[in-house]
């Protein structure tokens, strides 16, 4: 295998890794938007708290829990937190103009960031190593184990989520609410429960993304969720916000563009190019790649 091909394959693996994380986080944005038409800017902070939860469980509890248990507890805590923020901050605003809810979400995001800074301090904490750091060799290519975990677990969970939304009763209820809230309510669907469930799932996936992010890059800090959160949001818009498949496609595309820019052009350009892609997509296809062109009802 030639060296440049080998390097290209490495960069593909790197971009699958970042893409998986963006996709996990983007699903949270897109699901919430699909249900209540709210861009939940606090989602990046839920991601950050998910990472802190895992950090705290691993470093303060003397139980020596296995990695999967820690991940599940942290995801559950983040899910609770997501549901809680919805109940406190967004529920009352469901009927309010959309801009009010958006501003509240930004406020929530800033609040959670500063709250984390108060609780945990501003300096980055080093994430304990849950996953062995012996790289696994595929021929000449060394791949970090955390990368393999990230990619495989993300894809696994996305398949489970798709099955859940497509095949189960609560999934059906979710789809119904996203199509028409009033009609769904008339059919006897408990809207509040569906919204809570959506926030719970989205937050849990965001937390998983946060945990992988902080393991791969070895640190947890209060502003951890800002950049990946923003990029995941772009991924969700890119794929067509409200559409789960779109969020996944968007996540991997953004990860790919970013890593390839860093690898073949320059790190300086990575963010500029990612954000330009967003602008271009919105110019030519305002509803995103997989988004439906919804006609305004008059």
């Amino acid at each position: 295998m030639s060296e440049s091909l080998e390097l290209f394959i490495r960069q593909i693996i790197n971009s699958l890794n970042t893409g998986s994380i963006y996709a996990l986080v983007a699903i949270g944005y897109t699901m919430v938007y699909g249900i209540i038409r709210l861009i939940n800017f606090a989602h990046g902070e839920i991601m950050m708290f998910g990472a802190y939860f895992a950090f705290l469980i691993a470093t303060t509890l003397p139980l020596n829990l296995p990695f999967f248990v820690i991940v599940i507890i942290a995801m559950a805590l983040a899910a609770l937190m997501g549901v809680f923020t919805e109940k406190i901050a967004y529920k009352k605003l469901r009927k309010a103009p959309r801009i009010s809810a958006l501003i509240t979400a930004i406020g929530m995001s800033l609040f959670l960031q500063n709250f984390a800074q108060l609780l945990f301090g501003a300096s980055p904490k080093v994430m304990p190593r849950f996953i062995s750091n012996e790289p696994i060799m595929f021929g000449n290519i060394a791949v970090a184990q955390v990368t393999i975990y990230t990619i495989s677990m993300s894809i696994g969970i996305m398949i489970l989520l798709t099955l859940f939304v497509k095949k189960t009763k609560p999934g059906k209820a979710m789809r119904a609410v996203s199509q028409d809230k009033e009609a769904a309510m008339l059919m006897g669907i408990n809207i509040n429960r569906v919204i809570s469930l959506t926030f719970a799932i989205g937050s849990a996936l965001g937390a998983l993304g946060g945990i992988f992010y902080s393991i791969a890059y070895s640190q947890v800090y209060p502003t951890l969720g800002v950049m990946p959160g923003l990029k995941a949001f772009i991924a969700a818009v890119f794929g067509g916000i409200g559409n789960i498949g779109g969020a996944v496609l968007g996540g991997y595309t953004i990860g790919f563009i970013e890593t390839m820019t860093k690898g073949y052009i320059s790190s300086k350009w990575a963010d500029a190019i990612v954000f330009s892609v967003l602008i271009l997509v919105l110019l030519f296809k305002p509803s995103g790649i997989l988004g439906k062109n919804v006609k305004e009802k008059v």
């Binding site: 060296e3 080998e6 390097l7 490495r10 960069q11 790197n14 971009s15 890794n17 970042t18 501003a122 300096s123 980055p124 080093v126 750091n133 790289p135 060799m137 060394a142 791949v143 970090a144 184990q145 955390v146 990368t147 992010y213 791969a216 890059y217 070895s218 640190q219 951890l224 950049m227 990946p228 970013e258 890593t259 390839m260 860093k262 690898g263 320059s266 790190s267 300086k268 990575a270 963010d271």
Partner: protein, 375 residues
């Protein structure tokens, strides 16, 4: 209403008068640094180091027969806050000399004020080249960014441990410190006939895998990585996870890295102001006293601040007075040899002439590999 005003005026006059009468009290050194916030690690170390030195000096009889008092204010690493702190120190507290500010950006912001006041300034840690330029009253205890970059290039080229001819340089393109070192390294390395490839990252990056993959696919024999602990830790961890074997070389921004990233930093090198493991008596005493007082081991910033206080006190003793002109003249001619971070004497700019200690991390501890000086 008028009565209140009169009362307020009288009170403020009383305060002003009482503030003027502080001449016979302690000699006051001001310290400005980020004591809270993201960079508090640095400011607190400087504060601790200065206070330790002041306590030792006071125990030994003080300065010019008077007590030494350290007054420190928080800059949060922000130039505006730093200027406010400086004004408070010079006008309200009437300090005799300033040790600071900790950061180059803050020091540059208050430079003109300090020149106008003719304040003797010895910054322990500000490393930006401009800090001492055209400022006869400003000195520093740490060597400059460019000097460190040069020394790193000399080390990488000539040391038996690395002796590389092809180097990769990975730096933060949005940070003056990181870029300054990188530029100096590249110039020196090219001048010596080496080949350099540049890579950059930005402060918002967490994912370095793409850049690291490029470096490990190149034929670089060494990577020069001038950055701070948080970034270096993340980068080295990812390099370690990818199984990279090329040695990394860093600078004083790496100080303290082994605390959190011992495994990832194992075997790599960095230049620093001093090594904790140095067996010289003054270093041993400093490290023991510091650990006893603060319960943690001192980083290079603490050592530099400690040295800066001693050097400044030495200048006061040689000047024989607290007169600013005499103190500045004494500083310019100072030769302070008993310092933790190597002897301190200043060139015509006010920059120190001293050797860089090159440290290798072996089994999580600092091992002094070399002491390198560049012309």
């Amino acid at each position: 209403m008028r009565k209140l005003l009169v009362l307020a005026l009288t009170l403020s006059t009383v305060f002003l008068l009482s503030a003027c009468g502080s001449d016979d009290g302690a000699i006051k050194f001001g310290v400005i640094g980020p004591l809270t916030g993201d960079y508090s690690l640095y400011g607190v170390a400087v504060d601790n180091g200065s206070r330790l030195a002041a306590a030792e000096i006071n125990e030994a009889g003080g300065v010019l027969g008077r007590d030494l008092e350290i007054i420190s204010y928080d800059s949060k690493g922000d130039p505006t806050e730093g200027v406010n702190a400086y004004n408070r120190l010079s006008q309200q507290d009437e300090i005799d000399a300033l040790l600071g500010a900790t950061f180059s950006g803050v020091t540059l912001a208050l430079k003109d004020l300090a020149i106008a006041d003719n304040m003797p300034v010895l910054t322990p840690t500000a490393t930006h080249v401009d800090v001492t330029l055209d400022a006869p009253n400003i000195f520093r205890a740490a060597y400059t960014d460019s000097y460190q970059g040069q020394v790193a290039a000399v080390f990488v080229k000539e040391s038996s441990e690395i002796s590389a001819t092809k180097a990769a340089v990975l730096y933060n393109s949005g940070d003056a410190y990181s870029e300054g070192l990188a530029v100096a390294f590249i110039a020196e390395f090219l001048a010596g006939g080496g080949e350099v490839t540049e890579y950059t990252f930005s402060a918002s990056d967490d994912d370095f895998s793409a850049v690291l993959a490029n470096i490990s696919a190149s034929d670089a024999e060494v990577v020069f990585l001038p950055a701070y602990v948080a970034e270096v830790g993340a980068i080295l961890t990812q390099a370690f996870n990818m199984g990279m074997e090329v040695p990394f070389v860093g600078a004083d921004g790496w100080d303290g890295i082994e605390a959190d990233y011992a495994e990832a930093v194992e075997g790599h090198y960095f230049g620093n102001h001093y090594a904790k493991s140095d067996p010289t008596q003054v270093v041993v005493d400093f490290v023991t006293n510091y650990e006893e007082t603060y319960g943690e081991s001192p980083n290079a910033l603490a050592a530099l601040a400690y040295d800066a206080v001693y050097a400044m006190v030495e200048a006061f003793e040689q000047a024989g007075s607290t007169d600013a002109d005499d103190v500045i003249a004494a500083l310019a001619g100072l030769e302070y040899n008993n310092a933790v971070t190597g002897s301190i004497k200043f060139d015509s700019n006010g920059d120190p002439i001293k050797a860089v200690t090159i440290i290798q991390v072996v089994d999580g501890a600092h091992v002094v590999v070399d002491k390198v000086e560049s012309e």
